[in-house]
């Protein structure tokens, strides 16, 4: 069939019409013979993105029987999908259309009308050249599984599960320990603002266990994850019975928490198990259980040191939550034992805007001593420190509390591999975008919440849990179909040598080796069409649909003609 390309130039009010000679462009393109016997229909319109404009375009495509469409208008970020949808209503496959940006790239950046007109001409020519080499692509919606897997049954995981179950989503929690609750469970409510309500976490656990939508597997670990948003296949194994359970879900929430930094002798912390040295978890457990605070000898301590920023130097980041915990700890000890003398050795104090300042002020006013130091070390329960002016000192205490940093839980690297989600420079899971999409990951359908993503307190962890649940509830609708990306990469098997370059550069894990045939295979359902592999293939065996070499070559050839 002879190609009949419609080229529609949008005036965009004065934005385009006022800065280019549109009639000149139309005459030039109408008379242009560089595309052989391709028939060109070149027209302009006021605002193509208006309802009338869209109706006009739809009618033109139908009435003229256009085989390809080029729209010269604004940035594709603004209206690419607008005109794609118009094509979708007609006989024209949306992938035989191309938007050309003659506003941001031409009229908005070039003052000289002649130059802007020339540039717009070459851009439009390039667009026509490209569109002639584009192929029809067909979107095929797939059924989605609305169920959710939550890995980790701490407060973040439980909160997310509860939010989802509230909308009647079926949720499975896989927890490697024998109880739900995670770290917060051990604190028995300590970290909540109201100290006297230790049953908070217990209540949450009870609600979870009593919810018919939530299925809990304790003592279990996820061992296999395959699939993609809407269709994951999971295997998890019971650590005790070794029974493997299969599970299908549409999205995954990772809520695997964090561990506490462990001090080393090399970093100046020398003490043994018999010394009265405790980390923040141990002391808060002691405090929240209601037991007396005693030394291992059975005596009551007279002096307690709180050493801040343990691991800060080695890890290179501030955990942000330890100061608050230690202020609370000091205040709780003081409330119960006003005679114990507490000294806090700190480098910087990092407190959240709400509530933190009050805790600090309370500690100050109850007589807690604050010493600003450059660095600290430990020998038994003797704190060694370097003061601000460089002087070194040491002081003996009955008991020492360490504000240890939070570090990624030890399962993080294995899970990162399993789920195909990267970790950042601190070793915690990396979010899709720190500011604009902090609870999603680069793998569609996999979310991270709580301290698996970095140090944060309980309320923030729960907030992120609800954010992830919200994303899942709006992204995976029950009964709706999902339209996977169709401009993905395909492999031309005859050209593939199985060298594996593409496997190394694929960030989505969409390529796997077919060892029997010695070639690589692209799973088009996982592929996002980023084109990394395309660039890495020496024989041109990989081809990203809608971005083929020949499409790009022709576009560039024509733009530079």
């Amino acid at each position: 069939m002879k190609a009949k390309v419609g080229v529609y130039v949008c005036e965009c009010g004065p934005n385009i019409a006022g800065k280019t000679d549109l009639d000149e462009i139309i005459t030039y393109l109408s008379e242009f013979r560089g595309f052989g016997d391709v028939e060109l229909v070149v027209r302009k319109y006021g605002f193509l993105c208006s309802n009338q404009g869209k109706e006009y375009l739809e009618k033109e495509i139908r009435d003229l029987g256009l085989t390809h469409l080029v729209v010269g208008a604004c940035s594709p970020r603004d209206h690419d999908s607008t005109f794609k949808d118009v094509c979708g209503k007609t006989q024209l496959n949306p992938y035989l259309y191309k938007i050309i940006n003659i506003r941001e790239h031409c009229t908005w950046v070039i003052d000289d009308m002649d130059k802007a007109t020339e540039k717009a001409k070459s851009y439009l020519r390039a667009g026509i050249a490209r569109v002639l080499y584009q192929s029809e692509l067909f979107e095929s919606p797939i059924d989605v599984n609305p169920d959710v897997l939550v890995i980790g049954g701490g407060v973040a995981g439980m909160e997310a599960a509860l939010a989802l179950a509230g909308e009647n989503r079926s949720v499975t929690i896989v927890e490697k320990n024998d109880t739900l609750g995670g770290r917060a469970g051990k604190l028995r409510g300590f970290s909540f603002q109201e100290f006297n309500k230790p049953e908070q976490v217990e209540k949450l656990i009870e609600t979870i266990l009593g919810n018919p939508c939530i299925n809990v597997f304790l003592d279990s670990e996820v061992t296999s994850v395959i699939g993609f948003l809407g269709n994951f296949e999971i295997e998890h194994v019971s650590l005790e019975s070794k029974v493997i359970t299969e599970l299908f879900c549409g999205s995954i929430i990772t809520a695997t928490g964090a561990d506490l930094y462990e001090t080393t002798e090399e970093s100046g912390f020398k003490y043994s198990e018999s010394d009265d040295v405790y980390n923040s978890m141990e002391i808060t457990e002691m405090l929240s259980s209601g037991d007396e605070i005693t030394l291992r000898s059975g005596k009551e301590p007279e002096t307690i040191a709180i050493v801040h920023c343990v691991g800060r130097e080695e890890l290179g980041y501030c955990s942000g939550v330890c100061c608050t915990v230690m202020m609370k700890t000091a205040n709780m000890i003081k409330a119960r034992y006003p005679d114990i003398r507490i000294t806090q050795f700190y480098r910087d104090i990092c407190l959240p805007p709400s509530g933190g300042q009050e805790l600090y002020a309370a500690a100050r006013s109850s007589g807690v001593n604050f010493v600003k130091v450059q660095s600290t070390g430990l020998s038994g329960t003797t704190v060694k420190f370097k003061e601000k002016n460089g002087d070194e000192g040491e002081q003996f205490f009955d008991m020492v509390l360490l504000a240890s940093a939070l570090v990624p839980s030890k399962d993080t690297p294995a899970l990162s591999e399993l789920l195909g989600i990267p970790v950042d420079e601190t070793g915690f899971f990396q979010e899709a975008h720190r500011m604009t999409n902090p609870s999603a990951t680069t793998t569609d359908g996999v979310f991270i919440v709580g301290t698996s993503q970095g140090p944060r307190n309980i309320s923030d962890s729960m907030l992120f849990a609800r954010a992830s649940a919200g994303q899942i509830l709006t992204k995976l609708l029950v009964g709706e179909k999902l339209v996977p990306e169709v401009a993905v990469t395909e492999i031309l098997e005859a050209y593939c040598t199985g060298c594996g370059n593409c496997l190394d550069v694929c960030v989505y894990g969409a390529i796997y080796p077919d060892e029997a045939r010695g070639i690589s295979i692209v799973n088009e359902a996982i592929c996002r069409g980023c084109g990394n592999c395309y660039g890495s293939c020496p024989s041109g065996a990989l081809r990203t649909k809608h971005f083929t070499n020949i499409q790009l070559f022709r576009e560039v050839d024509e733009a530079l003609r």
């Binding site: 005859a494 050209y495 593939c496 010695g518």
Partner: protein
């Protein structure tokens, strides 16, 4: 290093060794150069029956195909194969293994100190037999035969790297005076523990090869400086590659050009109206087929740093372009930037496959 001395010439000694490996079932097949006795034709042969071993001439200075190419799929078959490879073929194979095009696991790599190979036209004309006695004499004297491939004359890596079994066949080796076999791996020591010959311990006497090394270095210098003179700048490239007829023979025989089918032969390099119009508008005339230069530039950027200088490409070029010399010379520069030596070590990563955030900051 373990060694075996066999009181025979090197070529007879290596045949004994292959017979031992095949007859004791240590390997399932042997890959080596062969000369058909009735026709005098040369080829690379895969032998599974002991009675066919006598046709093999494993040390012959002939390379009809770079053996690393055919060894790729064979090495993945799961069968144990003893492959007699020239040092450059072994290095090329290591480069292919790095690209997932083969495996060393089931191979016994046997290589030898190499005096260089005859160009294919001499082989095709059936002259090898006649030229061999003189070749052997010159090589054992540690000199360079005048009629071998140009890149062989200039090859400094004539001692095999990392072969399981190494046979001394140049320099120190005197025909008929006994053949030294060096066993470099446990695999080789185990397989040859019962091989006849005097078992001992020895290290290749590289001093006897110094003369050859010096002569090769001199030739290399000569070849490279002539290539630099002829092939520098755009004019030089046009001068050298202007003769190219676009047959792509050089890439077909290149052991590093590992793609089954080449991107240059795909639809991506089909030319049509806009291409012709654009070029003709600027120049008024266009050489056909187009982009022969781009093809060579593409190959140079993709694999020059892995070039082992085997010389196959120059041998098959119908218009006499010194492809191998250009690639060797370019490869030496590109590989040295990364302190890379093709085929030195299978664990050494290919420079272009490593991503470093900070690299060549001076290039911006």
């Amino acid at each position: 290093m373990s060694s075996i001395t066999i009181e025979k010439s090197a070529s007879k000694g290596i045949n004994d060794l292959l017979r031992h490996l095949l007859s004791t079932g240590k390997v399932d097949a042997v890959l080596a150069m062969r000369m058909m006795p009735d026709t005098g034709a040369w080829d690379l042969a895969l032998v599974t029956d002991v009675k066919n071993l006598k046709e093999l001439k494993p040390l012959a200075p002939v390379m009809t195909v770079n053996a690393s190419q055919v060894l790729s799929n064979l090495s993945l078959s799961g069968k144990k194969i003893a492959a007699v490879l020239k040092p450059c073929e072994l290095r090329a194979f290591v480069e292919r293994v790095k690209r997932e095009q083969g495996s060393l696991e089931n191979l016994f790599t046997i290589s030898h100190t190499c005096g260089g190979v005859f160009p294919l036209d001499l082989v095709a004309e059936g002259k090898v037999d006649r030229l061999l006695p003189k070749y052997e004499k010159v090589v054992s004297a540690g000199e360079i035969p005048s009629n071998i491939r140009d890149t062989c004359k200039a090859c400094e890596h004539f001692i095999p790297m990392n072969a399981d079994i190494m046979v001394s066949a140049a320099g120190e080796c005197k025909p008929g005076e006994g053949c030294m076999i060096y066993l470099n791996s446990d695999k080789a020591r185990e397989a040859l523990s019962e091989c006849t010959g005097e078992h001992g311990s020895a290290v290749l006497d590289s001093t006897s090869l110094e003369k050859l090394a010096t002569a090769r270095a001199r030739e290399r210098e000569k070849l490279f400086s002539s290539i630099e003179k002829d092939c520098s700048g755009l004019d030089g490239l046009v001068n050298i590659f202007g003769k190219c007829v676009g047959c792509h023979g050089c890439s077909r025989v290149c052991p590093i050009c590992y793609c089954t089918l080449c991107d240059f032969e795909s639809i991506n390099f089909d030319y049509n109206l806009p291409y012709f119009e654009e070029h003709l508008a600027r120049k008024g005339a266009l050489r056909l087929p187009p982009d022969t230069m781009l093809f060579h530039m593409g190959r140079l950027t993709h694999m020059s740093f892995s070039c082992v200088g085997c010389g196959m490409c120059s041998d098959v070029c119908p218009v006499g372009i010194p492809v191998a010399a250009v690639f060797s010379r370019t490869g030496e520069s590109t590989a040295s930037i990364f302190d890379y030596l093709p085929g030195r070590d299978v664990t050494e990563e290919i420079p272009v496959m490593i991503f470093k955030e900070e690299e060549f900051p001076e290039l911006g």
